[in-house]
């Protein structure tokens, strides 16, 4: 089943087109690794897939609902996506635990003990349970990266979009994070797209795609 469908996506910055008619289907229960050099259009594609950037042309559907309509973002469809943000993008004034719970809180949901237990379980899975009440500035780069992964997985969004989630990690931890994302995809039936330069853990991906100069290979 296709969870996220991107069709003929084009996007440019000024006169420079960085995506040239990209077609991409993300299926439930699979982890797709998107490899490509810097400037190839990975992050732009990720932003378009998550509702952060309206494409110049093309369509995006999340669970068959259009993500962009009449130049506006369909908030409900966008709510079905979650990002593994880059390490520096955790909210600095929230503890690691609160960074996981923040999406519930901003959505007006009252967090319960069960929510905290689940968040703690995810932090345990990324080896951060002991640092749940620390602030991002008190963590190492690798720890922040793992906290960002836990925060995205906490959302239970059917589409997880990860931007270089293993960039700041050593081989062992990088593999652990990829394994966690793969496990999430398989167990939760989520569609996970990972943009990466890192080829060390590609064996954990169900599909590997390459992007270069805004075209999928």
């Amino acid at each position: 089943m296709v969870t996220a469908a991107l069709h003929d996506i084009r996007h440019g910055y000024g006169d420079v087109e960085v995506l040239h008619g990209v077609d991409l289907d993300l299926r439930a229960g699979e982890l797709v690794a998107l490899l490509g050099p810097s400037g190839s259009g990975k992050t732009t594609l990720l932003a378009i897939a998550g509702g952060l950037l309206t494409p110049t042309a093309g369509t995006v559907h999340i669970n068959e609902s259009p993500l962009y309509a009449d130049g506006k973002v369909n908030r409900k469809a966008a709510g079905d996506t979650a990002y593994v943000l880059q390490a520096s993008s955790l909210i600095g004034f929230l503890t690691v635990m609160d960074n996981l719970l923040v999406r519930d809180i901003t959505a007006g949901k009252r967090t319960t003990g069960a929510d905290r237990k689940r968040a703690r379980g995810l932090l345990d899975a990324v080896d951060l349970a002991a640092k749940a009440h620390r602030y991002p500035a008190q963590l190492s780069g690798g720890e922040r990266q793992r906290a960002a992964v836990a925060a995205a997985l906490y959302t239970r969004a059917p589409v997880i979009l990860a931007d270089e989630p293993t960039a700041a990690l050593d081989r062992e931890r990088g593999r652990a994070v990829m394994a966690l994302l793969a496990e999430h995809a398989h167990q939760r039936d989520a569609a996970v797209l990972v943009c990466t330069h890192d080829e060390r853990a590609l064996d954990l991906a169900d599909r590997v795609l390459r992007i270069e100069d805004g075209r999928l290979g």
Partner: protein, 349 residues
């Protein structure tokens, strides 16, 4: 929204503490200036403000100045005969020193008939309380200069001051003896309708009747003093708006990263603005309350006649400061609307 607002404040107490201190310092200046303005104004006109009358009838050409006004006693009957006039009281006024031995107290002598409903009941000179402790005691005989007439201190009361001198009530007959005259300075009138003052001018053509408010405004120096400090206060409010606005603007600049992440995670603009507004209001309220307390403490150490901070003025100035803080902070709300969630991903496509 309270969650986000409070978590950020809790994470950066020094930053928000400094902002609150800045607001408190500004509020303190506003409250001190307010106290001085009201105090200065009261020192100039409170003796007139406390007269329970509707208007003052001056001599024509006296520029509504009690010191320069002289009217004949015969005008009382003319004024009393005007329709709408319910009471007429002749008053005498002179700036004079009361002296005894080496003690000398500058006063604003306000004379009236002992029968006047608002005249002190004591027979003799009654001094405002601010003259207490200056060497003149009840029962003392003092010399009035100029005039060189001896009068007895009959008591103290809360009478206010005029032209920065404590009011000293005395019987009109003593004042006339002091001036060796039969006339009066002016007449204090009570009226049942607004047209009565104009009718007085027609009935007694040598008079210039004005409302009590106009009489207060005409006290020499009052407009200039309160106007100058009022202008300083206005500039202070404008400065406070600018200062607080800039501080909160810088605060929002620093928040751009977290705001972008929050937007990327689906937080609505309404939520972000609510959280920001909560922070601004809480910081400003803390600052204003601290400033008001410091201002009130200032009132304790300042001479009572020079600094008056009525609760109504505190509430008005406090509300104005909060408004100024919100208006100043509103200038940076646009950043909350325009923050790009893409910043959370970086732009290294």
């Amino acid at each position: 929204m309270r969650f986000l607002a409070w978590r950020e404040v809790r994470h950066a107490p020094v930053r928000f503490g400094l902002i609150a201190s800045l607001v408190a310092l500004t509020a303190f200046l506003v409250f001190v200036l307010t106290g001085l303005t009201v105090g200065l104004g009261a020192a100039d006109v409170s003796g007139l403000q406390r007269l329970p009358v509707d208007g003052i009838v001056y001599a024509k050409g006296a520029a509504d100045d009690l010191s320069r006004s002289e009217l004949p006693a015969t005008d009382e009957r003319l004024i009393a005969g005007v329709a709408g006039v319910t009471d007429v009281q002749p008053i005498g006024f002179t700036m004079a020193d009361l002296t005894k031995d080496k003690h000398s107290v500058p006063t604003a002598l306000l004379a009236m008939s002992p029968d006047a409903p608002f005249a002190p009941r004591e027979d003799g000179v009654v001094l405002d309380n601010q003259a207490r402790g200056k060497g003149l005691n009840v029962g003392d005989t003092v010399r009035v200069q100029p005039g060189n007439v001896s009068l007895k201190i009959a008591g103290y009361a809360d009478l206010g001051s005029i032209q920065h001198s404590a009011v000293a009530y005395l019987p009109l007959a003593d004042w006339q003896r002091l001036h060796n005259a039969q006339g009066v300075s002016a007449y204090a009138v009570s009226t049942s309708d607004d047209a009565a003052l104009a009718a007085i001018a027609r009935a007694a053509t040598d008079t210039d009747p004005v409302t009590k408010a106009a009489a207060i405004d005409a006290v020499p120096g009052y407009q200039a003093e309160t106007g100058t400090i009022g202008m300083i206060r206005a500039f202070l409010y404008a400065g406070a708006a600018l200062l607080i606005g800039v501080v909160f603007w810088i605060l929002t600049l620093q928040k751009e990263g977290p705001l972008a992440v929050l937007r990327a995670t689906g937080a609505s603009r309404r939520l972000l603005i609510g959280a920001y507004g909560t922070q601004v209001l809480a910081t400003a309220v803390v600052g204003v309350v601290v400033g008001a307390l410091a201002g009130a403490a200032m009132g304790v150490v300042m001479p009572p006649a020079a600094f008056v901070l009525p609760p109504g003025e505190v509430v008005t100035a406090g509300a104005l400061l909060l408004l100024v803080a919100l208006v100043g902070a509103a200038a940076s709300v646009r950043r909350l609307f325009t923050v790009d969630p893409l910043l959370s991903l970086g732009r290294t496509a």
